[in-house]
Symmetry: C2
Subunit: 370 residues, 2 copies
């Protein structure tokens, strides 16, 4: 499982650094994309990510540097998919309310046919997520907006928040064999979400030598044993799963956040996490500016990462004022932010790294336990 950082800059893309996008390549080869700023499809081409394998897209919020690359990316994926593969593919798109209006308007105005089908699942923000001036944008008038449907669109869902006993909110998104994905809200200038991706624990590896010695042949019995059910050999011996299965494979937890000045409303969703991706738009010297625009400094990101028991904090969404870490031009570079983060984390077990465009992080497996 690998995280591919496609764009790690904020606000506007440059030739050297793209705007927000991050691809999670799963163990089965599928790719989940998080945010899709302008130029993401170019970054995908430069990376080791196979765009045609994107099956789900999660958008944290609707600012342009996280969104404007989406219609073009969808069109390009379509043009690269084989017809047979496309006919089977349904791309699931998750994002804040309003995203459907943007996607459909862009695809319909441009008369863009798609070979695959797609669904848009809109996350309905909680009232506390709206800034005071939101109505100025004339999008919160409460009137249902008639968005024509794309010919390849299947009905999506409207995901409303679920409250726990303490009133903490989450938005349930995916509950599949392998994953549970929930969104939580985080503070920013517009309704913004973070995603908590909990990989489910999987049964251990089958010991084929033991299996054969017991007189079993690989095949349907494997599925039974992996599902936790005993099987009976031809000679009538009952074989229990724990006799032939190795230790169970623990799931990992990833937290991927959008822009935020404070992600704490999401913290209740996990008490431990392998890696958290958190923005650090500005350094400590610009902490006031960061707060004013709903952004974080490395120290703020570290505070949150500690709160959720993260082992690794990967920073992204750097102001274009910070040059690339290896830049020779003597200006303030992203390295400054990395040092600030590491200083804030010193004395703890938290590791802090700045990401950069095309940086790949392989999420390590957790130790297996019996």
């Amino acid at each position: 499982m690998k995280l591919h950082f496609l764009g790690t800059g904020s606000s506007f893309p440059t030739a050297k650094r793209g705007v927000s996008s991050l691809a999670l390549q799963l163990d089965d080869g599928c790719v989940w994309l998080f945010d899709c700023g302008e130029g993401t499809q170019i970054q995908v081409q430069k990376s080791g990510v196979t765009g045609q394998r994107i099956t789900a897209i999660f958008i944290t919020h609707l600012h342009g540097d996280h969104l404007f690359g989406l219609p073009g990316l969808l069109c390009t994926i379509s043009s690269q998919l084989g017809e047979e593969e496309a006919a089977k593919r349904v791309v699931e798109i998750y994002g804040p309310q309003g995203i459907q209006r943007f996607i459909n308007t862009a695809l319909l105005i441009s008369c863009s046919p798609l070979l695959f089908r797609f669904k848009v699942h809109e996350l309905v923000p909680a009232p506390q997520q709206y800034p005071q001036d939101f109505d100025d944008w004339q999008l919160g008038d409460g009137e249902p907006h008639h968005t024509p449907t794309h010919p390849n669109q299947l009905p999506g869902s409207s995901v409303t928040p679920v409250a726990d006993e303490e009133g903490n909110l989450h938005w349930p998104l995916v509950d599949s064999e392998g994953w549970c994905v929930r969104a939580g809200w985080i503070h920013h200038r517009v309704p913004t979400f973070g995603f908590v991706l909990a990989e489910k624990e999987r049964p251990g590896t089958l010991d084929l030598t033991k299996l054969t010695a017991l007189g079993l042949k690989p095949g349907p019995v494997c599925r039974e044993l992996k599902a936790g059910r005993s099987v009976v050999t031809e000679s009538g011996r009952q074989v229990r799963p724990e006799e032939v299965l190795g230790p169970r494979i623990p799931g990992r937890t990833l937290v991927i956040l959008g822009d935020t000045s404070d992600a704490s409303p999401l913290a209740h969703l996990t008490q431990e996490c392998d890696v958290v991706v958190h923005e650090a738009t500005h350094g400590d010297a610009l902490a006031d500016k960061a707060a004013q625009y709903g952004h974080s400094t490395p120290a703020g990101a570290v505070k949150f990462a500690k709160k959720i028991g993260a082992k690794l904090l990967l920073l992204n969404h750097f102001s274009q004022r910070y040059t690339l870490a290896d830049s020779q031009d003597g200006e303030e570079s992203v390295s400054v932010l990395e040092v600030e983060g590491q200083q804030a984390a010193s004395g703890s077990n938290l590791k802090v790294l700045c990401s950069h465009d095309l940086f790949v992080y392989e999420v390590p497996a957790r130790p297996r336990t019996l």
Copy 2:
């Protein structure tokens, strides 16, 4: 006056070649942009074009590779403009009906403030411009669509076609001191326009030595003389404009087209032209494919360029199957298209060149005549 080719590829952008965009840098420093595919703002940064000087944007048609970079470009220009300059700036945007819905949806959904103001002028296509399947896109239902207005938006216009005595159509767009810009329709899969930019003839240069010898001082009299009116010296002598003005400076004509399989419906708009920018998506070997998708080959572009008496034909919008001309990888390159165009033009006075990303063409002045 310079043409900056920002993106010369078709369909999708790559790290090596952007999609459609072309900047015309006028003699007064203003920049007019033609088409704005995804990544145009990155190409602007790489080029010698000052994005903050863009005062008008012309979109030929609404396919994504000509349009999807527009919201991001507007946001980035705004972030780079000084407050004082921005307060005076009104960006005029011209494009086919529907463009306003796209721009406003993108800017409003993303809560994008702009420092400058803008107007959108929608060109209403003629009935013959609509393909048979256009209604499938649910945009031609005749119902006026309610598009909320951006806080910085001034009312634009709806430009309907004007017919001449023969029934030929044009859309009048700009009639300023320096320019007359008209659009004409051209054949493509969706309503598509080309733009005919006629620079107006200007008065010749004032001969300051003669002016002084006659007892006149530079100042308001210059404006009078340049406007073609005589002035009187303090001693009572009448000075006629032709006594102190050099030969008049002839205007140039540029034709900039969108995607097309046949631009002849626009040909009536000019009988002579300094430079025409015409697409050549495919080479002769793929002429059938070009026609099927509403595109041209170099030979088709040459045919049109001859029809309008062009001196120079600059080709663009190359299929990404054609590698860059200087590519070393042995695949079919854009050079093939240039050779085909030059062969089709051989024996005529027409010059043919393939453009490439960041290619700059300085439009020469015409010889002055008395």
